[in-house]
């Protein structure tokens, strides 16, 4: 499973960073980016889905493993 923040859509609400700091970080401007190339370590899939589902801007893209 991988996640990616669409920087065109992200407006710095910081919901992903507060819900899943293992997967996302924010810069000094509050813009979010994925950590570790967006690879979601085993066991953190639910946190990743929670971050995706709480982004008000629909800015996080998730790729589930086939």
């Amino acid at each position: 499973m991988r996640v990616r923040v669409d920087s065109e859509k992200c407006q710095g609400h910081n919901r992903c960073y507060s819900l899943a700091p293992e997967l996302f970080d924010v810069d000094d401007y509050g813009d979010a980016h994925e950590l570790n190339d967006g690879i979601v370590p085993p066991g953190l899939e639910d946190k990743a889905r929670l971050a995706v589902a709480n982004c008000p801007e629909f800015a996080i893209i998730v790729e589930e493993d086939a």
Binding site: G12, H13, G30
Partner: protein, 400 residues
């Protein structure tokens, strides 16, 4: 509730967000318009104003900076003198491309990591407020507590005298709540605020400090210092926008917990649930309704919008849209999926959202730690502010 306007006869065709009925309980008004088959209402008050109510329409307008300008975001009888793209209080009143640079100047001071540093100060101040009313059987959650917290924090950030809190609250009331006052009266409010802030800016020019006013007077955009209107407008924005919004959010949360024993008991038992509950309070009691002006004649979803008509952006109504949220009209404190737009959507996302969340969390943690048990002392005594920022202004709570 200044009462300059006649009462509203029909909310679908004559709505007025300064009407006391809107302040007291706006939810049925929005629900009715949203479900009416004509979800964008129009009123001829304020020289023409539109009211979208669905999440889809509110977000579409928030994202559309081509057809709607942020030149002014407070609906009044007049139209703003300040011109686009800077507007009167950048960056909230600014349009692209100017908006981007003006906003980036402010963002680092309000990043999550910068806000974390203000938490100990905020927590100590919340305790001081409750120390001052220790032993009283009834404490006003708005007057004795919520209204002081954001004032103290933003005054510290800007470098304004902490003891001027009452004055700041008066400025906020004049600008945001006396929206249907005659234009001459509103003009005088702005002169008073401008005179006060000009004196504070001059003090900072003489004696620089480590604060946001000093930062702004020395800041540059595109290699040029900010013009005086930009510096002054941004200070007004940070002062006004940072105060009654968060005060409203803290007060509304206390109102909910005073009226719902099960939710209050659960949060006392499960303090880790508080951040999730705060997002739900932000959704269900979102304080802020934004506004835009129509740039040029434009048809939006069949609505013939005219140049210089207002458009209200009721994020609290979008947050109650049953097409977008399950159990939209219920407060579910452990709601897991919550894409609320209490802080707006698009390029104007509230610059202070991280600060507001920290202040809410600390204020509620301190209150619940000291007073896990409280109820409304008198439900009829609770009053709510009207206009574009809604929250409790009188909230007597009985401590048991």
């Amino acid at each position: 509730m200044t009462g300059h306007h006649p009462p509203v006869a029909d909310w679908a065709t004559d709505f007025d967000h300064a009407d006391p009925a809107w302040a007291a309980d706006p939810f049925p008004i929005w629900d009715e318009i949203r479900a009416s088959g004509c979800p964008v209402a129009h009123s001829t008050r304020y020289g023409g104003v539109w009211l979208p109510t669905s999440h889809e329409d509110v977000s579409a307008i928030a994202y559309d900076t081509d057809n709607f300008t942020s030149r002014s975001v407070v609906v009044t009888e007049g139209r703003p003198i300040a011109e686009a793209p800077q507007g009167i209080a950048p960056p909230i009143s600014s349009d692209p491309p100017f908006h981007h640079g003006a906003r980036r100047l402010l963002l680092p001071a309000f990043s999550p990591k910068a806000v974390d540093l203000l938490e100990p100060f905020t927590r100590a101040f919340c305790h001081e407020l409750l120390d001052a009313v220790e032993g009283k059987p009834i404490i006003d959650g708005a007057v004795d507590y919520a209204q002081h917290i954001p004032v103290q924090v933003i005054a510290k950030m800007l470098g304004l005298p902490q003891e001027d809190g009452d004055l700041f609250r008066k400025f906020v009331h004049n600008i945001l709540e006396s929206i249907d006052a005659p234009l001459e009266e509103r003009f005088e409010y702005f002169i008073e605020l401008d005179t006060y802030l000009t004196a504070r800016v001059e003090e900072h020019l003489e004696t620089p400090q480590d604060d946001l006013i000093t930062f702004l007077v020395n800041a540059e955009m595109d290699g040029q210092p900010l013009n005086p209107e930009h510096v002054g407008g941004t200070i007004v924005l940070l002062l006004v926008a940072g105060i009654d919004t968060t005060w409203s959010a803290i007060g509304a949360s206390l109102f909910h917990l005073a009226s719902n024993d099960a939710d209050r008991e659960r949060l006392v038992a499960e303090p880790d649930l508080l951040p999730t509950a705060i997002e739900e309070f932000l959704r269900a009691y979102a304080p802020v309704t934004m506004a835009r002006l129509v740039k040029d004649d434009f048809e939006f979803n069949g609505c013939p919008m005219k140049k210089d008509e207002w458009v209200l952006l009721p994020f609290p109504s979008a947050n109650r849209d049953p097409e977008f949220f399950e159990q939209a009209d219920e407060v579910v404190i452990d709601r897991e999926i919550n894409r609320h737009s209490a802080f707006g959507l698009g390029i104007h996302r509230c610059v202070g959202s991280n600060l507001a969340r920290m202040e809410m969390r600390v204020a509620l943690e301190v209150w619940l730690e000291r007073y896990p048990d409280f109820t409304l002392a008198d439900p009829d005594a609770v009053t709510w502010s009207g206009g574009q920022v809604r929250g409790p202004r009188r909230l007597p709570l009985r401590i048991s």
